[in-house]
């Protein structure tokens, strides 16, 4: 095939320096370049993450002693609601797809941009609008919602706090997520490099593909559910409140029909990242490519059918309890398959422990604890004891933070030199990883113990028998926060003062490593060669 007809002089300029139609900040917030949009998300998402980390830190501080410590009950109830809403809707759901999906989905398949660049920009604007509305509800009216991020009725209908605006914000954020999903699916179907078949794609693409389907299929249900609560609050229509003839259990079903698949929206892209990091730093191809790819699709499919495992003690029917427990166990199997394949990828590799690899390996540890504690919760008899306790809180932090969060940090360290053309201090990055990993386990493993002993979640105060564990957990949170901010400080420093990074600092084999760091506006100056096996070092290329 002939060389593509690209004008080199216009494409060699990196996307960071390129001059578009606008200047200054407008060259970012009105840019339709997927890379710039990815960095816009990066800025927003990590800012909100930092805010929510501080909220979590304050919650832990409140638990340092029995009785009031630093805040009053109403403030504490707002703290955990805000922490949850920000972490879920502004950090972890957009998270990896919005940042790294936007940036690397087109590059890894050899495309110039996503299929609908303007729609992509609209998604970011919806994200920012939703975020502003959510934060505005802090200052407008009677204060931020105190319902927990789950907005359970009838409490959420009766509380005097500003639930309506928070719900509307989540509704808007849902649209952002749907449009991104739509864009990614179309891009993968239509814009893959002509020589790249489905099974020549990096596994990150497979995970984004599976995630996008869940986003499109499940998110509208959240939208309609939140609208129904809004109607009930504003117009007094009795849909969920039993005092008006409604059914609160119906709300829980509708809420979890989205919010459980949302867990897979959060974790699947993380699994995709891990599938990139492990072969790169083991310097060999991945073990069981097709099994990892298909297991993503299996998780995305079965994951839509397990939601009522959040409701084993709600009073739903016994048959529903049993069926949903069984389906929950089945969804564990594809996750287990992935873990075994990642482990096997280390076998006879040539392993380099760079910071991204440390995050990936610690992911295997923390995600497995998250998965196994998930199995415990799926077990009907055990669920009764641990439901709505710190066990659940510990479990989903192991999956969401130890899983998705660690993968996101791994992705950040892996792709940072590519995105910015700068290299960070690797020793500091390693120290930050170690602190985060230790603090994380001290904090959240202690929560698992507390939960099994019966400490309910969303408690402003604790009984004396839980005191020692609460102190340990709080000390863990200090180490964790120290690690996180050391990591961000190190990366921020590198952004301004870091050494210039080469095009391929990690000997990666996927297409993003075959262009300059940072990439040019058009992503590639010369059309890249597509490998049959995307991970094999210097592997055979696709002909024909």
């Amino acid at each position: 095939m002939a060389q593509p007809a690209v004008i080199e002089s216009s494409t060699e300029v990196s996307f960071l320096q390129a001059r578009g139609r606008f200047r200054g900040i407008f060259s970012w917030i009105f840019s339709t370049d997927h890379k710039r949009i990815g960095l816009l998300y990066l800025t927003g998402i990590l800012t909100f993450f930092s805010v929510a980390v501080i909220l979590g830190f304050l919650m832990r501080l409140e638990q340092l002693s029995e009785g009031p410590t630093i805040v009053q009950p109403q403030a504490y109830n707002t703290l955990f609601t805000l922490h949850g809403v920000i972490m879920i809707f502004l950090f972890i759901i957009p998270g990896i797809p919005a940042i790294f999906g936007n940036f690397f989905l087109p590059i890894q398949i050899g495309a110039r941009d996503v299929a609908f660049p303007r729609l992509n920009l609209l998604s970011w604007w919806l994200y920012i609008t939703g975020a502003i509305l959510a934060l505005a509800s802090l200052f407008l009216g009677p204060g931020f919602a105190d319902t927990g991020w789950t907005f359970y009725v009838p409490y959420s209908i009766r509380t005097g706090t500003n639930v309506s605006l928070a719900l509307f914000a989540a509704f808007i954020l849902g649209f952002s997520s749907i449009l991104t999903g739509l864009n990614f699916i179309t891009t993968i179907h239509r814009l893959r490099h002509p020589k790249m078949g489905w099974f020549n794609m990096p596994l990150f693409q497979w995970s984004l593909y599976a995630t996008s389907w869940v986003q499109i299929v499940a998110t509208p249900i959240l939208g309609i559910t939140l609208l129904l609560v809004l109607f009930e609050r504003l117009f007094g229509i009795g849909i969920f409140d039993p005092a008006k003839g409604g059914d609160p259990i119906l709300f829980q079903h509708l809420f979890w029909i989205y919010s459980h698949p949302a867990v897979y929206i959060m974790i699947l892209p993380a699994m995709g990242v891990i599938s990139e990091l492990i072969p790169t730093f083991a310097n060999r191809t991945i073990f069981g490519y097709r099994f990892i790819a298909y297991s993503s699709l299996a998780i995305a499919t079965v994951g839509n059918l397990v939601w009522a495992h959040h409701m084993f003690v709600s009073g739903q029917s016994y048959t529903a309890d049993v069926v949903f427990s069984l389906l929950t166990f089945l969804v564990a199997i594809p996750s287990a398959i992935k873990v075994f394949n990642w482990l096997a990828t280390l076998y006879k590799g040539s392993i380099v422990l760079e910071p991204p690899m440390l995050w990936a390996l610690s992911f295997l540890f923390t995600f497995t604890i998250g998965g196994l504690t998930g199995i415990m919760q799926g077990t009907l008899a055990i669920n009764v004891q641990v439901h709505d306790t710190y066990f659940v809180v510990g479990h989903f932090h192991y999956v969401m933070f130890g899983g998705t969060g660690f993968a996101l940090f791994g992705a950040l360290h892996y792709w940072f030199p590519k995105m910015f053309g700068k290299m960070y201090n690797r020793k500091v990055a390693t120290a930050a990883w170690l602190l985060t990993f230790i603090g994380f386990n001290v904090l959240y493993f202690t929560m698992l113990v507390l939960g099994w002993e019966g400490m309910p979640r969303r408690y402003y105060d604790h009984l004396p028998q839980f005191h020692t564990e609460h102190v340990i957990a709080t000390v863990g949170s200090w180490v964790l926060v120290l690690g996180i901010f050391l990591m961000f400080g190190n990366l921020l420093y590198a952004l301004f003062r870091g050494k210039k990074a080469p095009a391929n600092p990690w000997n990666g084999n996927t297409l993003e490593w075959k262009t300059s760091s940072p990439p040019p506006v058009e992503n590639f100056v010369h059309e890249p060669e597509v490998q049959v096996d995307p991970y094999e070092p210097n592997g055979e290329t696709v002909h024909g």
Partner: protein, 317 residues
């Protein structure tokens, strides 16, 4: 870590031990392999990697074995859960009402109590309902929990196997004082329970009061004091003037207070009629500076009980 305070607890703990054992096995296996591979195949020791693309036999092995294991865990979880869901016939029934932010336990003979008394070794079935939002009755030592949902009745059962006092917690977030929606379950020998059950019958207490004080206002005050305790009023209204989420009862009667009716502010004098209305239609007048939190007590309190409660509030000067 393990409890044998109730028959349910033993069933749950058996399943927990099983799943925990399997989990620890996999954690040890995965962590060991991870560490061994990283040490053995690190670049300095193993500079040339081998590109092993996969192994179908291995894939089948690590699909089939976990599948069998999860089905075993599912099965045992299901069996114990089925046991928890089916109360034996003849279990002693206690009606439990959850409301922001306290519990009420009502026995078949009419006893109302803020503490759950149960006889040792006898099956007890709790019939759960809510007056306002969703709560969840949780006794960690017994390994039982069930949501208490307005508009429907749920139930749970257990047989207590160890004498003592255990915590009852609310496990479903229910607002401001959620963390303080606590009660206790007292497991006592059967004779002791029967004695308590007989001497605390409403008729019995009525007679006692009547004998002591006559049907006087003093008797009414005493009954009122008991009512505000067991009906959960004092979760929000203090009786000593200290601030809580709702106006204190102390010095309330006869005072002038500012309320918001609809959108308008107005002054009212707290009298019998005002207190009665506040109980039956709590959202009609909201005291300025407070939230409309109180559930209506219509159908919950009788006219005599309202009179007793008013008498008690009157006595708190």
């Amino acid at each position: 870590m393990f409890s044998s305070a109730a028959n349910i607890a033993e069933k749950v703990d058996f399943v927990f031990a099983l799943v925990l054992g399997i989990s620890i096995f996999f954690m040890v296996l995965i962590t060991t392999l991870l560490v061994v591979f990283v040490l053995k195949y690190r670049r300095s020791r193993h500079p040339k990697a081998e590109n092993i693309r996969g192994n179908t036999a291995l894939e089948i092995t690590w699909t089939v074995i976990p599948t069998i294991l999860v089905l075993i865990m599912f099965y045992y979880g299901w069996i114990s859960f089925g046991f928890m869901r089916k109360a034996p016939p003849g279990a002693m029934e206690v009606k439990v009402t959850g409301r922001m932010w306290s519990w009420l336990f009502e026995y078949e003979n009419g006893i109302q109590s803020d503490t759950l008394y149960v006889p040792y070794g006898k099956p007890v079935k709790l019939i759960l309902s809510s007056q306002d939002v969703i709560h969840s009755l949780f006794i960690p030592a017994f390994r039982v929990k069930q949501d208490v949902v307005p508009g429907m009745t749920n139930s749970l059962w257990f047989t207590a196997q160890e004498l003592g006092t255990y915590d009852i917690l609310c496990a479903e977030y229910c607002g401001l004082q959620h963390a303080y929606m606590l009660a206790a379950v007292k497991v006592v020998p059967e004779e002791e329970f029967l004695h308590w059950y007989e001497t605390n019958r409403p008729e019995a207490t009525q007679e006692e009061v009547t004998a002591q004080e006559g049907a006087s206002s003093a008797g009414s005050v005493k009954r009122g004091e008991r009512l505000v305790r067991i009906r959960g009023c004092i979760a929000c209204h203090s009786t000593d003037g200290s601030p809580r989420v709702s106006p204190s009862f102390k010095g309330l009667y006869g005072s002038t207070t500012t309320v918001i009716t609809g959108d308008k502010e107005r002054q009212v004098v707290v009298d019998d009629e005002y207190i009665r209305r506040s109980m039956l239609e709590p959202n009609a007048d909201i005291v300025k500076g407070f939230q409309p939190l109180m559930p209506s007590q219509k159908g919950v309190v009788t006219e005599e009980e309202i009179r007793d409660i008013i008498a008690y509030i009157k006595s708190l000067k």
